[in-house]
Symmetry: C2
Subunit: 263 residues, 2 copies
């Protein structure tokens, strides 16, 4: 079992790897706004939209060094601050989604760094969110037409970091291997319970609810995809989902399910 | 209770309203790729990434008229075809995510319509997906630099349909009112069960699992957000989630949960 300081060490390694990529590609900051990456780099699970700004070099202020700032709405502030107390990230409040730009500008002024080249994850950021980021770039005005939003960008000012993150995540560190093993154990145990518990007259949804309940009881935070319970004729569809069809004697049943343990 | 033909009538009305907006804004096609909209316009629940192309006018071929085409991967084809048999949409297979462009080009050739102006939902499409769509527009080559991807777009070739869809969805039709009422009934009933069932020694996760299980058993497909069960000191965080903390005697407990009934 990994302890708290092991866990912190793995998060720090991930951030350091990303910072190394940033320097190779001359990125000044990276903006991360998706749940998976926030989990991967900070171990943080959030409900609201949250942005993490990562600097290419740690920034020292007094006794602390920060690799980045987490920009959170008011509702998440205290929880994020408590959970991240041992992690080198500054937690900053941003009141609404548009003020992410203001928050980044404030950081930039406070720490005097450039934002000439910014990394974002194209596979996670929507066109709307990108539109909201535009004021970050000095030449860009926030406009509604996509060609105006995007056409004015300096050619070297934005880079897609999708591949860096995928490459990093492809190599599993010890903490991930431990979590994956645990997720597989949960899925195995619950699959066996499902096979033993299935009864004529149960609906597919009942069995899916039973599976999800027992995964969660065993520590799975979330199903890794919508649980498939497909009986009789439904079992013919590869992506069947689960319906209110009753399971009947002699039905073939396809079950496809997976647990998620700590992201 | 609404029957099958009532339901179809509501879906058709929604599509007709969208087509009316398209004509007002001179949009030739709209491409929809998010789960919520697919549910809203077709009643379809899917696992894979699926694209719906909506035409501004229904296209007649033989005895059937289509308002659009649903572009699905092989794994979802048979299920989509069966579920949409009464809906005026043609189901087309696309083998991988890049061939969405090919599928649209094929449709365009088959039915001889323009794609001079396309509507997409900026709040649902990521920069990566948008990059994949680019070959749709004759002047655009698929390139990795965002400024090249987007800078070449003709000013009038893309429009954000986010607002049209939000405006439509803001006015609830009878079918939505019925589903919302049902979702509220499920949430109410399960909240009461949760209050009655909470016991000392249960973890917050146990209670959250109990809540989600019972919502699902009563017909909720999905929680509407991550269930919050926050006891004792955790109850102080507005967005607390649920943890493996045991609930103790005297703890204040915050529960925040919601059911989803048919989207």
């Amino acid at each position: 079992m990994l302890n708290h300081s092991d866990t912190l060490r793995f998060y720090s390694n991930r951030i350091r790897n990303l910072q190394k990529e940033m320097r190779t590609h001359n990125l000044d900051i990276i903006i991360i706004n998706d749940d998976f990456s926030l989990r991967y780099f900070l171990g943080l699970k959030v409900i609201s939209k949250i942005h993490l700004v990562i600097y290419s070099e740690n920034i020292k202020t007094g006794n602390r060094a920060y690799f980045g700032a987490l920009i959170v709405p008011n509702l998440e502030y205290e929880k994020a601050k408590d959970e991240l107390r041992d992690i080198q990230v500054e937690v900053v409040i941003s009141e609404d989604r548009y003020s992410i730009n203001q928050a980044v500008e404030d950081l930039q002024e406070k720490y005097d760094f450039n934002v000439d080249k910014v990394g974002i994850d194209y596979s996670k950021i929507t066109l709307s969110e990108f539109g909201n980021f535009c004021p970050l770039f000095s030449k860009i005005a926030q406009q509604s037409q996509i060609n105006k939003d995007f056409g004015l960008l300096d050619g070297d000012s934005i880079e897609n970091i999708d591949d860096y993150i995928l490459d990093m995540r492809a190599i599993k560190d010890d903490i991930e291997l431990e979590y994956l093993k645990k997720a597989a154990e949960i899925s195995d145990a619950v699959m066996n319970m499902a096979i033993e518990s299935v009864q004529e007259g149960m609906t597919e949804n009942d069995l899916a609810a039973f599976i999800e309940y027992n995964m969660k009881k065993r520590g799975s935070e979330e199903k890794s995809f919508d649980t498939i319970v497909a009986s009789g004729k439904n079992s013919w569809y590869p992506h069947a989902g689960a319906t209110d069809k009753e399971i009947r004697k002699g039905d073939i049943i396809t079950i496809d399910m997976g647990a998620i343990y700590k992201g």
